[in-house]
Amino acid sequence: MVKTADIVIVGGGISGVSIGYFLLKYGAKNVVIIERDFLASGATGRCGAGIRQQWGSPLNCIMSKFSCEFFETAVDELGFDGDIEFHQGGYMMLVTTEKELAQTKKNVALQNSLGIGTKLITPSEAKALAGPLNTEGLLAATFHDRDGHLNPFTTTRAFADAFVRLGGKVYTNTSITGIRTSNGKITGVDTNRGSIATNTVVNAAGGYVQNIADMVGIELPLYSKRHNILVTEPVERVLGPMLMSFSLNFYCQQTPHGSFLMGRTCPDQPRDLRITADSRFPVAMAKTIVKVLPQLKNLRMLRQWAGLYNMSPDNHPIYDQVPGLEGFYLSAGYSGHGFMMSPATGQSMAELILGLPATLPWGQLGFSRFTEGNTIHEPSVV
């Protein structure tokens, strides 16, 4: 294990490897990723891996557009020798209430103004794009054909492989046991395999960011909560787009493997880092999905699991240096969208840490927005 590093990234999920990659791409040296288990072993490996650009805030639109375009050429840019399984079957947002329709129209206008080609479509147009869809009760839908979903495991590997090829070091099965500080500055980290002297630590520990912050006595305005997903047996492709609806509270995709993967927001989810199985989720999920995709009643659920959403007060991430501790950076609070935004996360954090000009609006995503009343409103979050 190295004894010193310029930058230590805590967490080998999609955000950590993306930050690591972009740091090296923009000239940083001696960057280390510390992962307590294996790559993508946390929320990344448990996520729905949907990629969409259909948002209601300009900031999210810009960040997600950057990310989606990155993924389109990621295999080449990262030089990956595998497949990240980017299925660009589009994202279809189902609209079932008048209020939702009004908001949707605003969102589409915003997206179009930012170069995102989302279309507002009729129920019959939706049916033509998603054969199994039950359009009963559907007022309209939006569709953007460049959205889709990815394989989170291979995508993480693609970043990690590129990071290592550029000289980065990844230590898996390695836990941070302490963070050293002196006079309000980071001086190093301790791990179960040795210590590393460094002046810069990036806390990208996903659901566990507070555990890392606890080591330096900092309380973050974030919490982690459980989010449930289930998956079915695989069948031949019958559904192209990824479906999603705020009013119906669900998202669902058919993976390239053929299985249907779906999730929804459940009430009363624990916030104590538990990712155990929720007894109410499978029934509620099934009731929802067989209404939207009636054919799925004949498909068998194989498994449910859960991961952690790291939630921020305004459902937007925090990309910033933690006030009061020089060299301690935070990239967290993605509120369920960390995977799809990960290229923007990497780009933003690299620019922030290396002092580069901002090409993305990460300046709005600092801690100060909470104290200065500049929180960001996003009307389109599950």
Partner: protein, 269 residues
């Protein structure tokens, strides 16, 4: 040898056979129970107390040959079918052997059958003298055969339907180089694929799940995991007990979404 082949040696057989003197006095049980196993029904089976009481359930049976009268009661109780009764006084030149026989059809009295040794080799012909089978016999028919007295320590079985068992051939068959054996039936993963992934550094069950969907099909890993943990253990030189095993999630058995959706419960949302 017994442990390797399943056939007791001559000296092992001699060790459980009564003396010639006792044999010459009439029918007596011979118990070929050479291994200490937790089993004791024979010890309480004999109304005459000829099989000595066990101090421990793993004791091997010891017969008081003077008390044994060669009845069949212990034979019908022995789960290992390890007991026979021999009577060399049965006739001038032939001995009677009573043995449990759990095959159908049962032979007919008077029928000539093949007499086999302890390796199943035909060593003589034998005449069926008696076939006992009634409700009190614990579903264990007893067949009595008459055989040459010289063969009383050799014969241990009969065959009523006489055909020659097939033996192995030694011609090689074409090998299919691609096929190393299926490990994960749900996702059609070959052993070689798993080994390649392990060699690439995916050294936990959880990573193999992610990279190859190992154990993520309808069987929920019941088939593949025992094989794969041993592969990992060998490849890494780490005992299985020290390998992380990943998570186990509902459902144990796959269930139709329509059936789940049909479940009604108060307070469910």
């Amino acid at each position: 040898m017994l442990e390797k082949t399943g056939v007791p040696t001559q000296s092992e057989i001699e060790s459980v056979f009564p003396s010639d003197e006792r044999l010459s006095k009439g029918p007596v049980a011979v118990i070929e129970c050479f291994q200490s196993i937790p089993c004791d029904p024979c010890a309480t089976a004999c109304p005459r107390g000829a099989i000595l009481p066990f101090a421990d359930i793993n004791d091997r049976p010891v017969i008081d040959n003077d008390k044994c009268n060669g009845c069949i009661l212990c034979m019908t109780k022995c789960p290992g079918l390890a007991i026979m009764v021999v009577d060399i006084t049965w006739s001038q030149d032939r001995a009677l052997i009573k043995m449990p026989y759990e095959f159908r059809p049962l032979p007919d009295v008077g029928q000539t059958v093949q007499a086999l040794d302890r390796e199943g080799t035909v060593v003589a012909e034998a005449e069926v003298i008696r076939v006992q089978y009634n409700k009190s016999m614990n579903k264990v028919p007893i067949v009595s055969i008459a055989v040459d007295k010289q063969l009383v320590k050799t014969i241990r079985n009969i065959r009523t339907i006489c055909d020659t068992p097939t033996t192995a051939t030694h011609t090689a068959i074409q090998e299919e180089a691609q096929d190393t054996g299926i490990v994960c039936r749900c996702n059609d993963l070959q052993l070689a694929e798993i080994r390649a992934l392990i060699a690439k550094g995916y050294t936990t069950i959880a990573e193999l799940k992610q990279m190859a969907r190992l154990g993520m099909g309808p069987c929920q890993g019941r088939n593949c995991l025992p094989v794969v943990v041993n592969e990992l253990s060998r490849a890494l030189g780490v005992p299985v007990a020290e390998l992380p095993v990943g998570s186990f999630r509902p459902m144990v058995k796959s269930i139709y979404l329509g059936d789940l959706a049909g479940y009604e419960e108060q307070g469910e949302n």
